[in-house]
């Protein structure tokens, strides 16, 4: 027996309320649960709600376990892609060219305003997240959010321990070091943007409803 749109919506909302927030995870779960419930309805002659309840009593724990495991797998995929994009020939060329151009025409050692760069990045990330996800209630995809989280973590890790723009007594205070740090952050950001664009393309191709 095929389920109605309302039945599917019900399953989707139930999973969403069970903290399975990412659309890509939920889409697969909705299909799994719907197929199982539909078979249960046919074989035991149950109503949708009875079949759904019976299924969830036995399988909810497994579904939540899947949700948890999915995050770990997504983190690995995103980190791998981020590294690949970071060392991609074009990105390396951009970093090398930026390094020499900056050293030649715009030495960074005395540019005090650069200490705000990591904070600026963090504020922009939070703003984008607030506007796109919380305010507009757009679909949330695991890869995109996990990539954002990883990048923010990397920036802040660096910021906490090694930001030369904050550390006045830094051992290394020359232009080369400042410029190198700036260029690496730039390379990481461009890698991040290309990963996000790839993921966004993949998600919009795959998940357009639910």
């Amino acid at each position: 027996m095929s389920l109605t749109k309302e039945n599917i919506k019900f399953i989707d909302t139930y999973l969403k309320n069970s903290d399975i927030m990412f659309t890509d995870v939920r889409t697969e779960m909705v299909d799994h649960v719907a197929t199982a419930v539909s078979e249960e309805m046919d074989s035991k002659n149950l109503t949708f709600y009875d079949a759904f309840k019976a299924y969830m009593v036995v399988h909810k724990k497994d579904l939540l376990q899947y949700n948890k495991q999915f995050r770990k797998t997504t983190d690995k995929i995103v980190l791998k892609s981020l590294f690949k994009k970071f060392i991609a020939p074009l990105n390396v060329c951009i970093m090398v060219a930026s390094f020499f151009l900056l050293i030649q025409f715009f030495p960074l050692g005395e540019k005090k305003f650069l200490k705000f760069v990591p904070f600026g990045f963090l504020i922009i990330t939070i703003l984008v997240y607030y506007i796109v996800v919380l305010k507009k209630r757009k679909q949330r995809f695991s890869g995109i959010e996990r990539a954002g989280l990883i990048l923010t973590f990397l920036f802040q890790l660096y910021n906490a321990f090694q930001n030369p723009f904050f550390n006045e007594k830094s051992v290394i205070t020359n232009d080369y070091y400042f410029t190198l740090v700036f260029v690496l952050l730039l390379g990481l950001s461009t890698a991040f943007i290309t990963v996000i664009l790839d993921l966004h393309k993949k998600y919009t191709n795959h998940y357009t409803i639910v």
């Binding site: 095929s2 389920l3 889409t27 909705v30 799994h32 719907a34 579904l63 791998k80 998940y207």
Partner: protein
């Protein structure tokens, strides 16, 4: 079922083998096929199956196709070219493992 721990290490190979035979399959279909082939002896849970599928996809062994079926989206998995090669390797490894286990559990004694 008997002992799921004995099957656990072979889950990826089981998935690859099924996809090699069937071409493309979706998650629930895989669980039901395994249940059917093992006469209910092996029941793959959602918490084990989907992470395994995503890991294989991340390794580039599986490709994904999404289709709309009965008011919802369904994700189908199929082997990539690398996945086809890897299936052959992993099946050979599994067969070798089974042979070794047979020799350990049920050794054929002989006087040379």
């Amino acid at each position: 079922m008997g002992n799921s721990k004995l099957y656990k290490g072979s889950l990826n190979t089981i998935i690859l083998k099924l996809l090699e035979e069937k071409g493309k399959m979706y998650g629930y279909e895989i669980t039901q096929k395994v249940k059917e082939l093992t006469k209910g002896e092996l029941k793959i849970t959602e918490g084990a199956l989907y992470p395994a599928l995503h890991k294989l996809e991340a390794e580039g062994l599986l490709d994904v196709e999404v289709a709309k079926v009965d008011n919802r989206l369904r994700k189908y998995y199929k082997l990539t070219e690398a996945g086809e090669k890897e299936t052959v390797n992993r099946l050979a490894e599994l067969e070798e493992f089974i042979r070794s286990m047979q020799n350990l559990v049920n050794p054929k004694w002989s006087i040379e």
